[in-house]
């Protein structure tokens, strides 16, 4: 028994969430874009400041300059000095107003997306009279909700505006795929899915994946920033937090998600024993869940091993994320598996 009207409202809420999330994504993109010219200007100012300092040194060499302060030498542009000092004054947190506004709107819209997704999931659940985690479409929406909410909640504690685009973008893509490619009519479950373990096992799995997603984005940004810093090229990444702190943040996320994934494996094994008679069957989905667990375990080991670089460890984390993507897409759709609940 399903209630078609409620299912339609659920989809309406989902479309609204996607519209709002698009605004959020654009906001975060604008935020980053607004940082760029500022950085250019700053670089130009820094260059000028260096030039005037050089001239000052020349001046000092000839005995004309005053020791102790940046005094413009003869022939330097008159505007250089005040601009240089302004740049030096307003250091640390001088995000342009335009960028701040864009990120503010984006943050609010991300919260709204979270609430709309909660509403959509609740309506979907009400329409099918069950926990709405029975097919690929529902997994995608649930996971997106966890990612958006985790990001929003965490944003209240620290400045994560720099991460916004790489969270909202992939989530929007996932929701888009969910509603077009993976969409499944609201319906009841297969008998093997009718168990309270569905609520436990699949919810924790999607929560874990939702957090791994943010962790992977942070790891990616860390690796990008790190390589830019090494090459010495200027980029908008210069306005992000220091590479080390991004890396630590990514680690923090993985440390939360990994025990959740471990729990997913254990809960899945308990359920598998009830449903299929054996707690571990080396079903393709189980294989990949195990592979993901092992790869993230390797990440944690790599990070704790002194001989391994942080970069190497983060590449392993990204490999783990690639395995999650494979587990969700390729294994769900193409492999012959007892976990074939994609609904496709």
């Amino acid at each position: 028994m399903t209630n078609e009207t409620l299912a339609q409202y659920a989809n309406l809420a989902l479309y609204s969430a996607m519209a709002v999330l698009t605004v959020a994504m654009l906001g975060y993109a604008l935020y980053l874009a607004a940082l760029v010219p500022h950085r250019d200007r700053k670089a130009a100012l820094a260059a000028e400041a260096t030039r005037s300092r050089d001239e000052e040194l020349v001046g000092a060499g000839t005995g004309a300059g005053m020791p102790g302060g940046p005094v413009a030498g003869p022939g330097s542009p008159s505007a250089a000095s005040p601009a240089a000092s302004a740049a030096a004054d307003g250091e640390a947190d001088d995000v342009p107003l335009r960028a701040r506004k864009a990120a503010g709107i984006a943050g609010t819209m991300t919260w709204l997306t979270g609430f709309l997704l909660v509403a959509s999931i609740a309506l979907r659940g009400a329409s099918v009279h069950r926990w709405p985690l029975g097919n690929m479409f529902e997994f995608a929406v649930f996971g997106s909700m966890f990612t958006v909410l985790a990001f929003s909640i965490w944003s209240t504690k620290r400045d994560l505006r720099w991460l916004g685009l790489l969270v909202t973008g992939p989530v929007l893509l996932t929701l888009g795929l969910a509603i077009t490619v993976w969409y499944t009519e609201a319906a009841e479950l297969l008998p093997s899915l009718k168990s309270y373990w569905l609520v436990i096992h699949v919810t924790v799995a999607t929560l874990s994946v939702g957090i791994f997603a943010i962790g992977a984005s942070a790891a990616l940004i860390y690796l990008l920033k790190d390589s830019f810093e090494r090459s010495g090229r200027a980029s908008v990444l210069d306005r992000f937090p220091p590479a080390r702190s991004i890396e630590r943040l990514s680690y923090g996320l993985h440390v939360v998600a990994f025990p959740l994934w471990t729990f997913t494996v254990i809960a899945g094994a308990i359920w598998a024993r009830q449903a299929w008679g054996s707690y571990w069957n080396w079903d393709p989905k189980e294989v990949w869940t195990f592979v993901i667990w092992v790869v993230y375990a390797a990440y944690l080991h790599a990070r704790a091993t002194s001989g391994w670089s942080r970069q190497g460890a983060n590449y392993i984390a990204l490999a783990g994320w690639a395995c999650i993507i494979i587990n969700y897409t390729v294994v769900n759709v193409f492999f012959v598996s007892q976990h074939s609940y994609s609904g496709l």
């Binding site: 499944t184 319906a187 024993r273 009830q274 008679g277 080396w282 944690l300 391994w308 012959v336």
Partner: protein, 533 residues
């Protein structure tokens, strides 16, 4: 070794070997052990384990689906046998996969045992002496308080104790403290519990058994080896010691989706329930139970799972005088989601020659142009049997064979009355078909369902579960707990009655809240000594 030219300007005496360090057997073993138990090797083996597990999801596995595996090998004439030799169809039982995980576990033991010893010592020892210069530690804070040095130190001790630090005073002006031993404890518990998980799996493998049996409605089943269709015991199982229960399948309810017509939903199974009566021992009074998907029937020594179901049309075969030579609910094996099923009726009592019927059971039968007879819905809405007939010797050489197929080696197919085409029999419930040539008749009496039951025993599962939960607990504490050392030193301030309190902290691995924690401890000491900041 001796052939190497010595790098010396002095002429080497002839025939004198160069004195190089010799590893020797023990040395080599020690070297190998060090390499194996190093973190790098563990990491490499972990990644190798991940890569090694993948083929099992790509190629069909014999232990999961032997028919599909055989199909694959038959279809891939060149690649199939090569992959088979390399163990790609039994990845998780293959020697190379075992080699990876065994090496990994040896490496784990080799790493964890020495660490356990070290940790045991660390837990019993006192925190180290306060370093001479606290300001050199990674976190440091200093403040003056309105108290004597002794009072300030006592306050610091109280603060640290409240934060569950372990304290020790090595001298009169400072206190050393440490907390977070649980981090390493959790880490060790996690790794040791993983070993227990493997032990639990091994017990299940050695002492566990599983058997599958197909039981049509109305029929019974006794838990003895001969009654199983397939039975796979662990190497240490004595099949004669199976618990002697018996059960009878009274009813099997099946429900399919009929209302929702969306993609991938119409005709999906919704509920299966097997109603059984169980007698724990021969002669005991049977009690009624239900077995559902997700709700196994737990009994002493074994659990009964409902893993499959299908149709068992009740078929009667009579000879030309009308005597019944075969009557049974005959299970047909479902081939697709609409339960288009294949099966065989083996009439060994037919005369003059044995008869074998082979064909399809269709719960909701239609005949389409391109697929021929097929089923369009899984429930028995319009059942039909489509059969062909063979005669001859059903069991050549007496070899065991599948109940769903005929071995046609010594059988010949019967042609229709005109002798032009193979005989085709189409039966709906209640219909009887007269066989040509005075071979008698076949009647389709009705449709029953059958339950595919799996009866399993795994004595290791409890241990595996407890060990897995222990591992999870260990993992959480190893990731969440922070191991820190905090030192507090007091010295008299310039102003009488005031004291300079210096707090320094260090962490075992990177700890982004250490500075915060040190400042928090200092602030607490100030509050305790009545000094406002």
């Amino acid at each position: 070794m001796a052939t190497q030219t010595p790098l010396s300007t002095q002429p080497a005496p002839p025939d004198e070997p160069v004195n190089q360090p010799q590893l020797g057997l023990v040395g080599w073993l020690r070297f190998a052990w060090r390499q194996l138990t190093s973190m790098r090797t563990a990491l490499f083996l972990l990644l190798l384990l991940a890569v090694g597990a993948v083929p099992g999801s790509i190629w069909p596995q014999r232990s999961i689906d032997s028919a599909r595996t055989a199909d694959y090998i038959a279809q891939h004439q060149t690649l199939g046998p090569v992959l088979d030799r390399l163990g790609f169809f039994e990845v998780y039982a293959s020697p190379w996969f075992a080699a990876i995980y065994l090496l990994l576990f040896i490496s784990l033991v080799g790493c964890v045992l020495p660490r356990t010893r070290l940790h045991w010592r660390a837990m019993r020892s006192t925190p180290p002496r306060t370093p001479a210069r606290l300001e050199r530690l990674s976190a440091h804070a200093t403040a003056e308080v309105e108290a004597t040095p002794e009072e300030a130190l006592a306050a610091a001790e109280a603060v640290l104790r409240k934060r569950r630090f372990r304290l020790h005073r090595h001298d009169q002006t400072s206190v050393s403290s440490e907390r977070g031993y649980l981090k390493e404890t959790g880490n060790l518990v996690f790794h040791l519990a993983l070993i227990l998980v493997i032990v639990g799996v091994a017990i299940g493998h050695l002492l566990g058994w599983k058997g599958d049996v197909i039981v049509p409605v109305g029929q019974g089943f006794a838990n003895t080896l001969s009654r199983y269709d397939t039975f796979s015991p662990g190497p240490w199982v004595k099949p004669e010691n199976l618990s002697p229960f018996s059960l009878k399948l009274d009813r099997l309810d099946a429900k399919f989706e009929e209302n929702v017509t969306g993609r991938g939903q119409f005709g999906q199974p919704r509920d299966f329930t097997a109603h059984v009566s169980v007698a724990d021992q021969p002669g005991a009074k049977p009690h009624e139970e239900t077995v559902k998907v997700n709700h196994p029937l737990e009994m002493k020594g074994a659990s009964v799972f409902l893993l499959g179901n299908g149709y068992a049309p009740v078929i009667t075969v009579r000879d030309k005088e009308g005597n019944v030579v075969y009557r049974d609910a005959t299970p047909f094996l479902a081939q697709d989601n609409n339960y288009k099923s294949v099966g065989a009726v083996k009439v060994t009592g037919a005369t003059p020659k044995q008869l074998g019927f082979f064909g399809l059971f269709l719960p909701t039968a239609v005949i389409t142009k391109d697929q021929g007879p097929t089923s369009i819905f899984p429930d028995a809405k319009k059942p039909a049997l489509a059969l062909g007939l063979y005669e001859g010797n059903l069991f050549p050489d007496g070899r065991p064979q599948s109940v769903y197929t005929l071995d046609t080696k010594e059988l010949t197919q019967i042609k229709n009355a005109k002798g032009t085409e193979p005989l085709r029999i189409w039966l709906e419930p209640g219909q009887t078909f007269e066989l040509p040539g005075g071979r008698g008749s076949i009647t389709f009496d009705g449709v029953e369902r059958f339950a595919g039951l799996s009866i399993r025993s795994d004595p290791g599962k409890g241990l595996t579960l407890v060990a897995a939960l222990l591992a999870l607990a260990g993992l959480i504490s190893s990731l969440v707990v922070r191991r820190r050392r905090v030192f507090v030193r007091v010295s008299p301030a310039a102003e009488a009655g005031r004291t300079v309190v210096s707090v320094g902290g260090m962490a075992k691995d990177d700890d982004d809240t250490l500075t915060e924690a040190v400042e928090d401890i200092l602030a607490a000491v100030q509050r305790r000594t009545g000094t406002s900041r």
